[in-house]
Structure formats: C-alpha cells, structure tokens
Point group: C2
Chain length 487, copies 2
C-alpha cells in the first residue's frame, strides 16, 4: 500500500516510546515485509497471539486494526485476519520546493475556474476535483433527517441564525474535538458557510490589505484565490510530502519578511496528503509564539485520515488563542450543505462580527439536521466506512498510476483524503497534458494551480473522487499514454 | 393610513397621463377625502360603477384594488367594497440631513451587534429588528417542499453548487424581474448566501480598500458594517423620506470627492421606506453614466411594496451593465435559508470568482426548494397576503405611535416593508431611551446606528416585526411614556 504511512503514536507509554500495540503491529509488519507471513496467509488468531506475546487481547486487536489501516492485513468475517496482497514496490516521493525569496501578490489565472467548471461536468473523468462522490455519503439518511427537522420545526426555515451558530451543533463539534485532543467550549465556535468562509473570516481578522501571509507550497489553490481576493501577499514555504511545512524555512522567512500570519494544513495537507508529526506541531507552535504570530489552520481533511488515530489539530497545542482552527463537513458528511466552522481563539469577537457582515448567518435547518445526524445518525460508523472507502480507492488508484505512468514518476504517500501529488518526469508539460486530456474527456489539476511561482509545471494533483471502475482504469491508461507521448 | 403614498403609474396611456383605473381611483379617493363617501359606506358595486362611469369591469376592479392598497377601501367577502375608517391626520415627515463634507472610514460601534443580539431574544419586544415574524410565512408548505426535494434527490445534499446558482431558480428569478420591468437572462445572475453576501461581492468587485462609496443617509446599518469591514470609506448623501437620495447633493459629492461607487436602495429604502420616483431613477442613472460610476442597488424590500405596482428596480434603466442589483428571499419567503442573488451586469465574471473564494457555493437543496415554491407554491398569492399583513400591521403600529408619542414627533410614510423612521423632538436622547426601554424589555434601534456622523440622535427606526397585539400596544405606550419623561 504505497500511500499509507502510519501517524506517530499520540503519547509515548514506555521506554520504547511506542505504545505496546504499535510495537506489536510494527513487528508483525516486519514479518510480512520479510516474507515470513505471505499474502493470503492467515495470521494467528487474537487469542493465540495474545498468549504468544503475553499481551492483552485488546492490544492484539488494536495491533491488527493498525495493520488493517496500514493495508497489510484484511479481516474476513468469521474467519480471522489475513495478509493482503503485497503492495507494489515503492516509487520515489516528490521532492520539496526551494524557498521563495520575496512575498508576492497572487496572480491566479483563470485555470482554477476552468478546472472547477469541468469538475461539475459529468461528461469528464473528474481527476481534477477533490469533491467526493455522492455514493460515499449517507444521503438518504441525511435527507430523511433534514425533512424531519423541517417538518417538526418549520419556524426554523424563517429564523436567521445571525452570526451565532446553532448551539446543539456547536456542542457536537466541540465534543468531537475533545475526543481528538482539543479542549474547546461550544461558545468558542463560529458556524460559517463552509470552510471557505471560515478561512476568509479568519484571514480578514488577522490581516490588513497588503499584508504578507506565509503558506505551504504546494498549497491548496483555494488558499491562493482567497489571498488574492483579499489583496494580501503570500510567501511560499517549502513543504515536505511526509512531514508538512519546513520549519527552518519558515523561521528564515519570518526573519527576512514582515509576515503577519501563517496559513497551514498540518492535520492533513491538500494536495500532499502529509501529516505533520506531533512533535513538529509543538515546534511550529513554539515558533509562532516566539514571533508572536497568529496561525490559521485548515483541518478539513483531519477526519479522513487512514491511520488508527486521528491527527491532532495544531489547535491542541494552543495555549494563548493564536490558532484559528477552520473546518467543515464538506469532505465527510454533506458537501452540499456548506456548513463549516472556526474556533478563532482570541479573535472570536472579530470573527463573529465579520461573519455578520459577510453572510449574516448560516441556515439553521441545515445546522440542526447535521447536529441530529451527529447525535443519532451513526456518524462515527459512517466515518469509518468513508475512510476505508477513500483508502481502498486510493490504493487502487495509486496502483493504476504506477502501472500506466512512466518510470521516474514520483508519488506522495497520502495519509488521508482522496488525492495523490504526482511529480512526472521533468520534461512533461502538465498544461499541455491538460489540453490533451480534456480532448479525451479527462479533467486534471496541473501543478501550477498550487503555486504562485513557476513551479510544479510537471506535477499533478490526482484526485480519486469516484469509486474505482474499469472506466477509471481506462482513463488512467489513456492519461499514461498521453504523458509518454511527451517523453 | 398615514404610511401609504401610491407609487406613480408605470406608463401613461392617455393625455391625462394617468391610466384610466388610476384616474377612477383618484376621483373616488377625492370623494372619500371630501366626506361624500364616509367610513363604513358601501361603495357602488363593480357592475354599477362600470355602467355609471362607462368603463370596463376590469378597470373598476383595478381601481378598487388600488384604493384597497392605498387603505381607503376594504373588500368584505360576498358583500362588496366599503370605505375604511379614516386615517388620522397626517403628522409631519422627518427632515432630510445636511450633506457631509468629507468621506470617512466607518467606525461602527458595538451597538449594532447589541441591537441584533437582543433581536434574537424572545423576551424582548422586537422594535429594533426588521426580521419578520414567522407567522407571516408559509413555513409548513416550505418545509413540505424542502423535505420532498431532499427525499426525491438526496444526491443534492452532497453536491456543491460552486459559484453557479441552481439554474431553475435563476430562471424563476429572471422571470419575475421580467414582470417587474427588468429584462434579465438567468445566466446574468449569481446566487449568493443572502443579500448580505451579494452586497459584499459587488462592493469588492467595484472597489479597492481605501476607496470611497457614496451611500444614502440614513442608511441601513448593515451597509455601514460591510463598508467598514472592507476597509472602504463612506460618504453620506442626504436622502428624502419621500423620494430617496438627493441627486444634487450626489452630483456635488461626486465632483468634490473621488467616489468609486454608489450604493443605494431606490426601490424601497431601509430605514425610510421611501421609493424613488421612476423619472428620478432615470436621472440617477444618467448621472452615473455621466461620471462613469457603478452603482450597487439593494432591492431586498422591492416585493413588499404597498402600492398596486411593484417599484421598478434601477436596474430596469441599465443599458451598459453598471447597475449591480442585489436581493434575496429574506424578507418575503425564507429568511432562514439565506438564499440571495445578484445581477452584477458587466462585473459578472469578477463577482462569480469572488463568490467562489468567499463561500464557494450556496446549498442546492435550499435553492431547489425555493425554485419549486416559486413555480408551484403560490408565491404571488403569498406575496399579496404578506404585503397586506405588513401594510395593516404597520398602519396600526403608526396609529399606536401617534397616540402615545409626544407632539412634534415626525414619521416617515413607508411605501412598503415593516418599519417607520421616527424623528422625536430634538431634546430626546435615543441612546438613553434605548437603555430605559431595555429595562422594560423593549429593544429599539436608535438613529445613530444608521449614520457615521453625529446624526439622528433623537431618531429611531421602529420595526413592526410581530403581528399587532395588546402587548405591542402596551409596549408602544410604555415607550411613549419613556420619551415624554425626557421632555
């Protein structure tokens, strides 16, 4: 499974620094990698392994779940755990960018709009858009809940929430963060029109037009569009496809420029799929304190992680309210509801006021429907299936690319989400590839969307936003052929 | 009926310049005013009047409807038309402000947030907020349609509309504008998160931070908040409670300042309730062409007019795309949906792009529910009842104020909406009145909310946002007593 890299364990429990179940999982993984346990082999039962290794049954179960998530084992009902077919040999990972000397105003071209337009056109294979397929969501249950909420409380349809969110929803969100290691009170949250509005409000709360914001590179193209639209400047900080933003480069950038805020996705990064290790999050937070900078954290993919433990948001380290956490249900439950939120720390009042001036409120009927789904609808169960579906589809997707794309292509190892960052051989022109692909009714997102500079011209963010099928396989082959024609 | 002033007829049909039915209505009104027809009198039946005046039955029916709308007649089912109780003698109207010398950055105080907060508190009489009461809306039918849309098309819940609106809704909106005299194609519209987002996007499309925008005074406080939040400056132009913005003052302001855009509510003004006459709209448009300025038009109250003909938006005169029309269903159908729109003329692409960066999309399920209500739900019928309810409640509200408020108070004559602009005797301090009123659990909106300057300290916008009741009557008396204590 090329795209899985297990997150670091949350807290060390022993001298070994790994929890017992991770230690057990690692040792079994080693046996698989060495060929001692081969694909199709049944691994010892939980009970036997517990006796063999002298650990509790719970520990063995956790270890097996870890290995399932890492793609090494699969559970077969009433039969036990089996070693999965071997992952292909690992292709190299993409390289990190060079630092950028000067901040610049963002000159986003019309390509973003074009890629998004094609993403809405069902006639095109949607490799360009990370909007997940509707079959992955519990739409019928959600529709039932929405209808029921509206019927039971029709006055909700004509009541404006103004800039306060619907309190029961805020409580559910806060409760979930508590589980993820972020203690938050419900009244520290502002409900927004999706994560996009949350990012806008937070950026506007901490900057003035003309200010410079440090961002990752490659960066989610929405960041670039938002920064441009607010008349801000951006400074790109090299970011590793394994561990997130390079902190040395960030420190240098802060020292050499008048940076007013940092905007990052340390939880799960778009487009790289990287998760910043916890100790690095601590160092990032310390650095921000040292230079007294606010940081806007986009955690929209946090709940789509493949590992056994949800990546902790940077907000978990926040002691003085400098982290403005933003997210939404757009990738996990109801993309069409556009219900998001922010926990903007010490900027709460400013963000609330901006919410009022920007869109006034967010539809209460949708907020209540989500709150009821979270409370009674089996959201955790749904999230587990969703993560499994993302993970499995992405695995097949990665295998497909490695089969059809030329040697020398590099791939990120996403730890969640539904996209892979692909670095093609340097000779490939991704913009030309885009035109050729459109002629074959394939929509792709070229690397230049994800930067302000002349970078990533041979890169792509490949989104696996539809369930795997022969059609997807064929489209990957077609794309591979188009790439090879350029070599 | 103090607050009714009939709009000008749309198009002259004869030498008299008034359509036949208006001429008939005017002549009957004269008979009422002269006392020939007295309150409680039954007027001649439609058939008899048609023979008496030698006009068609349709003309008589139109004339009677006009007089009903003007508040002179009332229809009693299966009985005919009767003269209504006489309106009280007219109190004077508010005076127009002096022009402002220099544009200024908006320093909105926390009062707006406070007034809005109390507006959401059901323990307070809501004279401060123009959010209409839920009993005025077809909430059950809307809930049924929403539930049905979600059930029939659950995939809608997870599809993002991105920055295009839902086409069938855009077509319904365009069709309605056509009826109101504004030819618009559906693809000239951008659907937004309420009128508030539409105003934001349009302002951002035509200005840069630091620019100056000319606005009416008094102005809707939301305008001031938005202008502040976008780092713009505002220049207040005196505005008549009868005819809207003073064009001579606007011309002078344009000549003496570097104004980049104008933001107005000529259709139906908040807080004055005024409608700019059509010939003045033409002159306003000509003035904007002369100085090549864009204008943002907020038409949110247009459909709540009391007269027989909907006030034409300024957009009806737009030949070169300089009018950015904004509105929503927030005052007429579904305040809680936050579904609005803009027809931004030549700035269409820019506004679309800004919509994407600001909130990405607007929930499709809500857009579709509204589209179906507009198509099949009897929206026109609902609008007629809503207007009648607004009109009648406001009439009682005005009578109540005149009964309890001191002599020397001036009142605007709203031609729609659910509020009256009140100028109290100069000695009254509206901020002190607000504190006293809050102690009595009454929330009011003091005049200073509606300006940047030291103006309107003795003014109020009085909203009649709940149906008339003894409680409202008592609250008006209490407020009147508090005012008199200050004299």
């Amino acid at each position: 499974m090329i795209e899985t890299a297990p997150p670091k364990p949350v807290a060390p429990t022993r001298a070994d620094s790994r929890p017992l179940y991770v230690e057990l999982a690692d040792s079994l993984q080693h046996l698989v990698e060495q060929g001692t346990l081969r694909p199709g082999h049944r691994v010892p039962s939980v009970r036997i392994m517990s006796r063999q290794r002298d650990v509790s049954i719970a520990t063995v179960l956790q270890a097996y779940t870890v290995l399932e998530n890492r793609g090494f084992l699969e559970a077969r009902p009433q039969s036990g755990y089996y070693v999965r077919p071997r992952p292909p040999s690992l292709a190299p990972e993409p390289r990190m960018a060079k630092p950028m000397a000067k901040p610049s105003y963002v000159g986003v071209n019309d390509l973003t709009a074009e890629v998004m337009d094609y993403a809405q056109n069902a006639d095109y294979i949607p490799f360009g858009s990370a909007c997940p397929h509707h079959s992955l969501f519990p739409t019928k249950k959600l529709a039932r809940i929405l209808g029921s909420v509206a019927r039971r409380d029709p006055a909700l349809l004509v009541r404006s929430s103004l800039n306060r969110g619907y309190e029961p929803l805020a409580r559910e969100i806060a409760r979930r963060y508590l589980q993820a290691g972020v203690p938050l009170a419900h009244d520290e949250l502002v409900v927004s029109t999706g994560c996009t509005e949350a990012l806008n409000l937070c950026l506007r709360a901490v900057t003035k037009p003309g200010d410079t914001v440090a961002i990752e590179t490659p960066a989610y193209f929405g960041f670039l569009e938002i920064i441009q639209s607010l008349n801000l400047r951006a400074l790109e900080i090299p970011t590793s496809s394994r561990e997130g933003m390079c902190l040395d480069a960030l420190r240098t950038a802060i020292e050499q420029n008048d940076i007013k805020a940092v905007m990052v996705m340390p939880g799960l990064h778009n487009p790289l799929g990287s998760v910043m290790p916890d100790e690095k999050k601590q160092r990032l937070y310390d650095l921000l304190c040292e230079y007294d900078l606010p940081v806007i954290e986009d955690d929209i993919y946090g709940d789509t992680h493949f590992g056994e433990v949800r990546p902790k948001p940077l907000k978990a380290w926040d002691k003085d309210g400098r982290v403005l956490l933003c997210s939404s249900f757009g990738k996990t439950l109801a993309p069409g509801f556009h219900v998001g939120w922010t926990a903007p720390g010490r900027y709460l009042e400013r963000v609330r006021r901006l919410k009022f001036t920007n869109t006034m409120g967010t539809p209460l009927v949708l907020q209540k429907a989500i709150a009821e789904f979270l409370r009674d609808g089996g959201y955790d169960h749904h999230l587990r299936s969703l993560r499994r579906a993302y993970h499995q589809d992405l695995h097949l997707f990665a295998q497909g690319m490695q089969k059809y794309f030329p040697e020398g292509t590099r791939y990120s190892r996403p730890q969640g989400g539904n996209f892979i960052w692909v670095e093609l051989p340097a000779k490939v022109d991704a913009l030309r590839l885009r035109k050729d692909a459109l002629n074959k009714r394939i929509n792709i997102a070229p690397g230049s969307l994800f930067t302000l500079k002349d970078r990533y011209k041979h890169c792509l963010r490949m989104s696996c936003s539809v369930p795997w099928s022969d059609e997807i396989d064929a489209a990957l082959r077609t794309l591979g052929d188009l790439i090879k024609q350029q070599l």
